[in-house]
């Protein structure tokens, strides 16, 4: 841009502050370097996020980390001391090993409360805690009591921060609740749903001690529910949420009973990556789950589902046409997943975007395909075509491409038969492969796809 007139010259500082407050805190900080006029405006931002991960390097020694953590807290304390603004919208503090910083944390939280914060986020979890195993970690900090007086709080995030269930009922205006690394009881959850009639979004991550999950209630307005690797005493998930739009589940296979409404349900993300056993009938259970989520337009599935979904009573496709417009597959493009991929393509005649999230996945040695197939010719069998590929598929994205034979043949199918395909974006993997593969090699192989015969005259293939 050759324009050398400062476009911000006509804007007041107040308006610039409004603009800055839309930026994430880290971006807001950087504006101070734009020019002298911008030096202090960002100080008034009402969107505040203090994240130790920007200061602490977890590869360093514990002492070094502790010292960096101290520097981080000092920065936060000084910042809030100099704060000149009035009410704030969001205050988020992310800090592991909080036990040495009790007083300082109290000061930060009090600052937020006295400035009438609408959304409070406290994350005291430790990034070194593994998410994909069954370890639970007791919370090391209690939520200070003065927070409970702030009854108009609209959004709260508590990770590894204890509180008394009865105190929590003070918050009647909550719209968004996110709990992580906490011990929760089902009775608390039920009370919460009843107590907060405005609740729109609930997220539970790595929570434990719940008997099972039951999300229901009169006048439940919940739009979004996330259950991420929670450990339940009995693997049962009951959802009765007519306004639910978004459902994300990751964890072990469970018995699902889901009641949603076709005019609201939009998107589901199902990840059974942590499931390490399969049993007879699991295919049918997966089918039933997908059946209950019938109206979704956006669906993300994991490799486990691709392998086992077609092993139930129905190996070919869902019994009805699904509305799926955007399908994301977490896959390693392994032959054992092919029949599942075919199943979903058959079931989605209106599919417009297909995203392949390619990476290492758990492939089950005991897998037996429901029908005899030649995996090497699977995608290039001329007699097998997919309605969605020929008639509606517009975009294919492949992330983590390594140029394996199976990746090539799957993508080739899309290029050769995708009559209305507009775009194929391939992003190569940055990982070194076992047999000398690397980014450049992957890119070379990807480039070969540019020569494949194209069914769509407007197809643009990009390789990154």
């Amino acid at each position: 841009m050759a324009d050398n007139m400062d476009m911000f010259r006509k804007l007041s500082e107040h308006l610039i502050l409004i603009i800055i407050s839309f930026l994430p805190f880290k971006e807001a900080v950087r504006t101070s370097v734009l020019s002298k006029r911008w030096r202090y405006i960002w100080h008034g931002t009402w969107n505040i996020e203090f994240d130790e991960r920007a200061f602490v390097d977890f590869r360093e020694s514990q002492e070094m980390q502790a010292s960096q953590r101290r520097g981080f807290i000092d920065f936060a304390l000084q910042w809030i001391q100099n704060y000149q603004g009035r009410d704030i919208d969001k205050f988020q503090l992310t800090l592991s090993k909080p036990e040495n910083f009790n007083g300082d944390i109290q000061r930060c939280i009090s600052f937020a409360i006295t400035h009438n914060v609408k959304g409070l986020g406290l994350d005291f979890s430790d990034p070194t805690w593994a998410e994909d195993n069954l370890d639970n970690h007791a919370a090391l900090l209690d939520l200070p009591l003065n927070v409970f007086g702030h009854v108009f709080l609209e959004s709260i995030k508590l990770f590894s921060c204890n509180f008394r269930n009865s105190d929590f009922m003070n918050f009647r205006a909550l719209k968004q609740v996110s709990f992580g690394w906490l011990e929760l009881s089902l009775s608390f959850l039920k009370a919460l749903l009843k107590n907060c009639p405005l609740l729109e979004s609930l997220s539970l991550k790595k929570c434990w001690n719940l008997d099972h999950l039951e999300i229901s209630g009169q006048n439940l307005r919940l739009k979004s529910f996330v259950a991420d690797n929670c450990s339940l005493i009995s693997d049962e998930i009951v959802i009765d949420a007519p306004y639910l739009r978004f459902f994300k589940y990751s964890g072990k296979m469970a018995h699902f009973e889901i009641e949603i409404h076709r005019s609201h349900m939009e998107e589901a993300d199902l990840d059974f990556g942590i499931q390490f056993e399969h049993y007879d009938g699991i295919g049918t259970d997966l089918y039933n789950l997908l059946n209950q989520l019938y109206p979704v337009k956006v669906l993300t599935v994991c490799s486990f589902m691709l392998q086992f979904l077609p092993l139930g009573d129905e190996p070919v496709r869902m019994g009805f046409d699904m509305r799926i417009k955007h399908l994301t597959l977490k896959t390693s493009v392994h032959p054992f997943e092919f029949i599942g991929i075919r199943f979903l393509l058959n079931s989605s005649p209106h599919l417009e975007t297909l995203t392949l999230d390619i990476g290492p996945r758990r492939i089950f040695g005991g897998y037996r395909p429901p029908v005899r197939v030649n995996f090497n010719r699977f995608w290039l069998e001329r007699s097998i075509k997919y309605k969605c590929v020929q008639e509606s598929l517009k975009v294919v994205e492949a992330k983590g491409f390594k140029g394996t034979m199976h990746e090539l043949s799957l993508l080739a199918h899309m290029i050769i038969y995708g009559r209305v395909l507009e775009r194929m974006d391939v992003t190569v993997s940055k990982e070194e492969g076992d047999n000398g593969g690397n980014e450049n090699r992957y890119r070379e192989i990807a480039n070969a796809m540019l020569e494949f015969p194209r069914a769509s005259p407007i197809l643009q293939i990009s390789i990154k």
Binding site: M1, M7, V29, R30, L34
Partner: protein, 184 residues
């Protein structure tokens, strides 16, 4: 500049209001859309109290801080938003409208110059047009996310009046905020 002379949607209230821009252009706008501009709403309600004349038919609301090109875009955007007084659509209609709006939004942002974006934000702020302010601000934030300071300066024509050692000092002070940025 264009006047909004499209056929009015047969909604329950097709009362219109006239808005006059800084360059003396007149815009006839449906009340439902104009009411999304809270400044206009305020003016209108004040007028209503003090004036017995027919609603909106003779009142021309002056907007000395808004240029016609900018107002045209904001009105256009306001029309695409769900109207509070419209008859409830069934699900299919709602879906189509949502899709249309997304397409419109994408098209709008694609052709926008940075100066125009700031004008829109400025006007939306002046008009107290909440949805517009949020939309355009978010678009701006999304665009400069993770971009280097140099990029943002160039993009908006901001002149760097720091001494090199000053700038260096501030970059160091907030070193943590400068990690992971696209240097282009």
């Amino acid at each position: 500049m264009s006047n909004t002379s499209e056929n009015p949607k047969p909604s329950s209230s097709s009362a219109k209001m006239t808005l006059k821009t800084s360059d003396n252009e007149l815009f006839e706008v449906e009340e439902a859309v104009a009411m999304k501009f809270c400044t206009v709403k305020q003016y209108f309600e004040d007028e209503k109290d003090s004036d017995v004349a027919a609603r909106g038919s003779t009142t021309v609301i002056p907007l000395p801080n808004v240029h016609s090109a900018v107002l045209a875009t904001l009105i256009s955007y306001g029309k695409k938003l769900p109207q509070s007084n419209a008859v409830a659509d069934n699900h299919e209609e709602e879906e189509t409208k949502k899709k249309e709006r997304k397409k419109y939004e994408q098209g709008l942002l694609k052709n926008l110059m940075p100066g125009e974006l700031l004008d829109l934000i400025s006007a939306a702020n002046y008009l107290d047009f909440k949805e517009g302010l949020e939309f355009f601000n978010q678009a701006l934030a999304d665009h400069i996310q993770n971009k280097s300071v140099e990029y943002v300066r160039k993009f908006f024509g901001i002149k760097n009046d720091y001494e090199p050692h000053e700038e260096e000092k501030y970059r160091e002070e907030y070193a943590w905020a400068f990690e992971g940025v696209d240097e282009d």
